[in-house]
Symmetry: C2
């Protein structure tokens, strides 16, 4: 290769990355607008906010499909920069190609319409949920489904439009593979849940709904977040109705939670969960911001980090060996007479319930099976939007054995569809599965891992995650990452093993 | 004119306004980034925030100098749309021309560098002020002055580079005219301040520094803001170090304040002041957002609204006739034994002091004279940045008769220079002067105006402001507006008359 050609390749690559960084910069502006919308924006700002978000999404689209991108990519691909497929440059080229090939198929009008519709439909959903009135949300969900169907058709797909949408959240994943994994999981979960339901030892969950003053919850949550590694000089914790974590760019990672004086789990495990996301965000290589090598692999891998800290760490005995004395001191009225064992069983109660985000580790995945099936049916046209409540309630009863009392506690409980996120839900269970595999591996790799938790030291685990997962950005595809780190493909065995190992002794089985 | 030509003109105008709205939409994104920077952003986000703001300022610049603008303007100017100079279209064309002719002279590099520098220099200023160490801020102020000088040279000017910069904040105004007005004002102010200093009756200002619990301040401030008309469904009040008001687009106007348990004035009059700005913002024609006809006239006119509510209403006897019983109930410990008259005199104490934002209505303007002179000297090169503290302290002593104890209470007290705002300060005194003229006129136009305040009814004044000022957007230039509304050009007589009428009886003169 001549020096001129080399320069050309390097220049093309640099230009490609510059465009990627510009899109990312705009993306972080958009993140702040979203965050503000959920936290502090007055109601009067909703319409203008939708305009802003739509406009920025159009600008981001323009950057991603800049007319120069195809040529730049062509010059980089097959060049020496792409030779080692795991090099920074090769990964950035590969993932930029992937993003470009998808984005270029979307008309800008659709991108903007999706952003505007979803910003407004979320407001409609808030009201519909508040009033438990599906009719108020129905026209918005119909529009969301129509736009998502259009998006799937633009992308194109081999087997099902659902695949095209899932790929936005979990790249390289398919609905067929997810269905297979969910099926295997479900087959082992349902009998386990039934055995636990019939077990002789029962938890006293009433201790979780005693009075937990909000200020003390706030303080304990912050302490826990900092203890596991959340750097609050580069982050925040705010209060919202629907908790989330959002990266605003390097040095600014924000989580949100909600407080319920009569239920400690909501804020505490919410904070542990979102902090898991935040630790991933804070662990991405800052200097690669705005390129795939500075980005998360997928939502499933992101969720594995939140689940790992929420459930595998945060609901485990080692964590509470250190933290329970702190918690008991924070809530003398609620926990003064409660032993660690009783508390541990209570926060690990397995019990079918209506609200996904409050579900236990075992039944949670059945909530996802339900959503996955309904989304697939909506997309394929087998289910009409108007029939969602009926279908939801029927299948919920089959899967979880309890009746849905109203749509607020049924098909209106989640914010995702109002955001236009069709294909997102499956990543939650993928996250649980990945988390189980990662955690099992971390325990093998790091001797005395859980003993360190009992001493209040979470650095060994965070260090392992930084090295094996966070630091790689999007170098590996999700499936590759899980195989590389754990030596096994995605499966349900580690999760089932974890659930059995935890719940059977708690329930005296 | 043929139908085709008519369509062409209308089409050109519409396209021009569409570009203006796009720039404004980006401007409101930038406003949120600024607001968040001051309110909630964690320290780690500062660098990336500077990148975001610089990038957006470049995009806004691109929109404003879009290659199509010159042609579009040319087709609109001299067309039937521009015939009536006060029509919506003519004003929008006039002001778009003005903005274009200025912006097109700035290289994008300079626009971005100003935005980035000012975002970062503000962080440096925070530290310098905290440590009262001018050396820490000096290199930044030097850079800010250099960039501002470059900006002034790009704009061009007839007499002085200061004129070019002032025009950014107070369009169509000149440093010569401001100097003349300040001079006239100063000549009457200084003897008045001296007479008050020698007056027999003294206020007991110690009552203002008793204990005022922050929660009660927050509540009273919110009540006052709502009472005078701030619609909190379309706005917010947050806590910051350096209070400001910011419009985030139609339906979202945010003010900020700071609370000091030992000084009621800071939050209360701060809120009254920022609410004055907010009422202007909320009173602009929403449907004209993003065009000059939906925008404020100038910072001076904006400031007239804040000063009017803060001082002419908020420090007046009629306002407190209604509000004092409320305040006394809010602060039983501090105000339980204080009569209305004593309170009124205390909040209207005239006393030379170091901090501009805490200065009384009379001495305040001398703080502006000082800054105006120093800015002019810095720009002309008569004063070097390194000599600012000395020059500040010397002139401060001459103007206000007291010594500056340290730079924190001297030349480091204001945020403006760190923001790169050179030419801004004069608008504060212009605001005082406009406010005095508007208020005198409103009292003539609306019989029983102050009697309505005493009943807690501020709608007559807000209605008058909406009709005469807010509703016009940028239809009139500032000088035109004040003449149209008050029948007189800008002058210092109404302000001096107001100060004498208020202070002489309070001080027993």
């Amino acid at each position: 290769m001549t020096t001129a050609a080399k320069t050309d390749v390097k220049g093309s690559y640099d230009r490609l990355m510059a465009l990627s960084k510009e899109a990312a910069l705009l993306g972080t502006c958009s993140s702040l607008l979203h965050w503000d919308k959920e936290t502090y924006m007055p109601p009067g700002g909703a319409e203008h906010r939708a305009d802003q978000l739509a406009y920025l999404s159009g600008l981001i689209h323009d950057k991603m499909v800049d007319p120069s991108v195809a040529g730049l990519l062509a010059r980089c691909e097959g060049s020496r920069l792409a030779q080692d497929p795991l090099s920074v440059e090769a990964v950035n080229i590969r993932e930029t190609r992937r993003a470009y090939d998808k984005e270029v198929k979307l008309p800008k009008r659709l991108v903007e319409e999706l952003a505007r519709t979803c910003s407004l439909s979320q407001q409609a959903w808030v009201e519909a949920r508040r009033d438990s009135d599906f009719k108020k949300f129905r026209p918005w969900l119909e529009k969301v489904m129509k736009l998502n169907r259009e998006k799937a058709e633009c992308y194109g797909y081999a087997r099902s439009p659902y695949d095209a949408l899932i790929d936005d959240y979990e790249p390289y994943e398919t609905s067929g593979n997810i269905a297979k994994v969910l099926d295997g999981l479900q087959r082992e979960l349902v009998p386990l849940i039934q055995r636990l339901a019939a077990a002789p030892k029962r938890p006293d969950v009433s201790i979780l709904t005693r009075r937990y003053p909000v200020e003390a919850q706030r303080e304990l949550g912050r302490r826990a977040a900092e203890a596991i590694g959340f750097d609050l000089d580069r982050g925040r914790i705010d209060t919202v109705v629907h908790p989330f974590c959002s990266g605003m760019g390097p040095g600014d990672t924000r989580i949100t939670t909600r407080y319920n004086e009569r239920f400690i789990n909501e804020s505490f495990f919410g904070i542990m969960h979102e902090t898991g996301h935040a630790l991933y965000d804070q662990g991405l290589p800052k200097e690669r911001f705005g390129t795939p090598m500075g980005s998360a692999v997928s939502l499933g891998i992101h969720e594995s980090q939140s689940r790992l800290w929420e459930n595998f760490v945060g609901r485990g005995r080692p964590f509470w060996t250190h933290f329970y004395p702190v918690a008991a001191k924070s809530f003398p009225e609620a926990l003064g007479d409660v032993e660690l064992d009783a508390f541990l069983h209570a926060i690990n109660a397995v019990e079918p319930s209506h609200i996904r985000v409050e579900a236990d580790e075992a039944t949670y995945n059945l909530h996802i099976v339900l959503r996955f099936e309904i989304e697939a049916a909506l997309l394929s046209g087998k289910l009409a939007v108007k029939d969602v409540p009926e279908a939801w309630n029927k299948r919920f009863k089959e899967l979880l054995g309890i009746k849905v009392p109203d749509d607020r506690r049924g098909c209106l409980q989640d914010v995702h569809w109002s955001f236009g996120h069709i294909g997102y839900f499956a990543t939650y269970t993928l996250g649980n599965l990945y988390a189980a595999q990662f955690y099992a591996r971390a325990k093998k790799d790091v001797p005395g891992l859980e003993a360190s938790f009992a001493r209040g030291d979470f650095r060994p685990l965070l260090g392992w995650l930084r090295k094996n997962i966070h630091g790689h950005g999007a170098r590996y595809r999700a499936g590759e990452l899980v195989e590389k780190v754990t030596g096994k493909p995605l499966g349900h065995h580690d999760l089932i093993a974890h659930l059995k190992a935890k719940f059977e002794p708690l329930y005296g089985l």
